[in-house]
Point group: C2
Chain length 415, copies 2
């Protein structure tokens, strides 16, 4: 007898779960299409060289690698290393495949190109609650637009998608990597360590400013510099955007943030909030400009995140092309909706049409008649004990059952 | 500069292709839901032991294997073999994962269970036209019903799905593995070689009866037996179902085939044909009863296939559970529809709303107004040369463009 569990860290989806996921996907796709985004798709397998050369940070350690096949696989090499064994890998995100895709088909694509991609990505994470080894990512990106209207569109469209999935009371947090870098530099950190400081500062939500301070000191950074940084961070929350000019942040960066804050607020009509958050970092190494996240106020967790990455696509083609992306936390939202027992609206009625030895032709006509009325009709063998069968059908969420009696189909509700 | 091609044997899908694929999937899912099938999902990665132990035949040679990770990967073993290196693999079909799934969740699932699964499968095929290393499979299965109404439902529902995708003039070919075995045995082949004879006989469409005869003789089978088999096959086409009784085929097998032929014909209302085809074999080793295929008359190719597999699920749980499946050739159908320039019906109109430096708030209101009217609205930076930009928008399949002038939005058609 085999172990019938799905692979550790992955999930099977039963019909009810799958119905919710399909509804979520349909809803998100519809909203994004209304906003002019076009669905594309890339394969889940990519050449391993492509992924390993990316700025994926920690994700690179989590890549699933695929064994070479046939004669390409040579096991008798001396000092055999992983590199000798593998040629392909499973993608760990959708941004890198999109960049490859755009570089390859740029001449056939509109400028700017508004892309939507929904697909599975794979990460060899240590399994824990809410972390999966196979998960759906759900990204929109605008490629080829350096105007901050691109950021505004991504944010406005994603907020609409979340509202369509009944999310209310969420807050958009927004910052800019260029501002963040200036602040860190202003405290006294050298340019070349700013990336490393960001990685530690990103833990602020988890370990607090005290934890950040300790970790920075433990890494050997100058105590005075760390203390000055802590002082700035502590008062940052009360600072207006314009105050950051004195730390050397470019006026253009500040006014662009101001624009986005203002336009998003105006067009949101009070349905959700947006705020400048100078402590927002976001993990990925490739961001170059504005970064943003949507937090669910009630649950205090992030449900979407993204930013501008103007230097990634240039690695794949002759010219550099600006790009912005926003990714909905599909798995997080699925868990939230599932936990609160979310009911999919406007579900079609389910009918069980029971068959015996006779009427095996007529039943198809009756089934089609009911389908034409908008019902979901399943043909099911009739049991001897009809009452017991009806109880079971009710448990299976059927709304009606039908059977042949006195030369006619009788359709009854299941209460 | 990196190679930006997708992995050899896989495909990227551009927006127009993806729109067709999404429409195909939506159409198929809707029809199958109307027929009472419930979508489920299993992960694309499975434990390798599960796949290697399956009756997957040739497919087992095509499995993509995933390298062990971290400390599990030991490269200093003597006589290192593939088995030491891998623990997971990419699935090569959806039937085996479904069987594992059913065995695991049987107590939570209705009986009979009507399953639908659409997902990517992976095969390390030698790349050639129409053969892909990553492809979508689209399966329905009924688990727990030994009545031939299960076969009839699968066939009727799949025919409807194909008709919804505008397929006409197709023929369902139907046979039974038990009949096939008797015919091969009747010719004089030993029981234990019947499987091997099937594999060769399956090539009839490709190499003709002469080719089959030669290959059987080359394999060393008795010339008299092969000749007798050829004689039977040659006259089989003209034989009625009842004639097969004299070859030792069970009456129940024949009358069940007769039932299915009759009921499908009656309920099809002449929209498609069904015929008994004693030379239909179908590749997979696990079929135990009826097998069937849908052939597109014009193109002479198979666009769906399936059969009964009553002994597979029992390998994963204590009791044996009968099962039937039917799989639509999603990739084949996609190629056919794409090649004939199929237009997706009822497409929403596309509007390009152009923005400049001003009206960056009002544009969101106008966009929402147009979206509420059912349009797909994209905000796009306005170029200096509007005429040139309009030409480009037309190429990108926009139906309208809108711009701000004299204190109002002007929406014009793009001819």
């Amino acid at each position: 007898m085999y172990n019938t569990n799905p692979v550790r860290g992955t999930r099977d989806f039963l019909p009810e779960e799958m119905a919710l996921r399909a509804y979520m996907k349909k809803t998100i796709v519809e909203v994004y299409q209304q906003h002019g985004f076009n669905e594309i798709q890339t394969p889940a397998i990519e050449n391993i060289d492509l992924l390993l050369s990316s700025e994926g940070g920690e994700n690179l350690k989590l890549i699933y690698k695929i064994l070479k096949r046939g004669r390409k696989l040579k096991l008798d090499i001396e000092n055999l290393g992983e590199g000798d064994l593998v040629d392909l890998s499973l993608r760990y995100d959708l941004t890198l495949p999109l960049s490859r895709f755009y570089a390859h088909y740029a001449s056939q694509l509109p400028k700017p190109f508004k892309s939507m991609q929904i697909g599975d990505v794979y990460r060899a994470e240590r399994p824990q609650k809410g972390r999966y080894r196979s998960l759906v990512q759900c990204d929109i990106d605008i490629i080829g637009d350096k105007d901050n209207m691109a950021e505004i569109e991504l944010i406005a469209a994603t907020a609409k998608a979340l509202m369509a999935l009944t999310f209310r009371n969420f807050t958009i947090r927004i910052n800019d990597r260029r501002l963040l870098k200036k602040v860190i530099g202003y405290a006294g950190f050298d340019d070349q360590v700013i990336g490393n400081v960001c990685v530690i500062f990103d833990k602020l939500d988890k370990i607090g400013i005290k934890g950040v301070s300790e970790e920075l000191k433990n890494k050997g950074y100058d105590v005075d510099v760390v203390n000055r940084f802590v002082t700035i961070v502590t008062k940052m929350d009360k600072m207006a955007l314009s105050d950051f000019g004195s730390m050397g942040v470019d006026e253009k960066v500040l006014s662009s943030l101001q624009d986005v804050l203002w336009i998003i607020k105006e067009q949101s009509k009070g349905q959700y909030a947006i705020k400048f958050d100078p402590s927002l970092v976001r993990g990925m190494g490739y961001y170059t400009g504005m970064i943003y996240e949507i937090a669910c106020d009630e649950l205090g967790c992030s449900i979407a995140g993204g930013g501008r990455y103007n230097n990634m696509i240039g690695r794949f083609m002759k010219e550099n092309v600006p790009a912005v992306g926003f990714s909905i936390g599909f798995e997080r939202i699925f868990e939230i909706l599932k936990d609160k027992g979310y009911q999919i609206p406007d579900q079609q009625k389910k009918v069980a049409l029971l068959y015996g030895e006779e009427n095996r032709i007529e039943i198809f006509e009756e089934a089609d008649r009911l389908r034409a009325e908008g019902m979901l009709v399943s043909l099911i063998p009739r049991h001897k004990k009809l009452g017991k069968q009806c109880n079971r059908l009710k448990e299976q969420n059927f709304n009606y059952y039908g059977y042949w009696s006195d030369d006619a189909w009788r359709i009854n509700a299941l209460y």
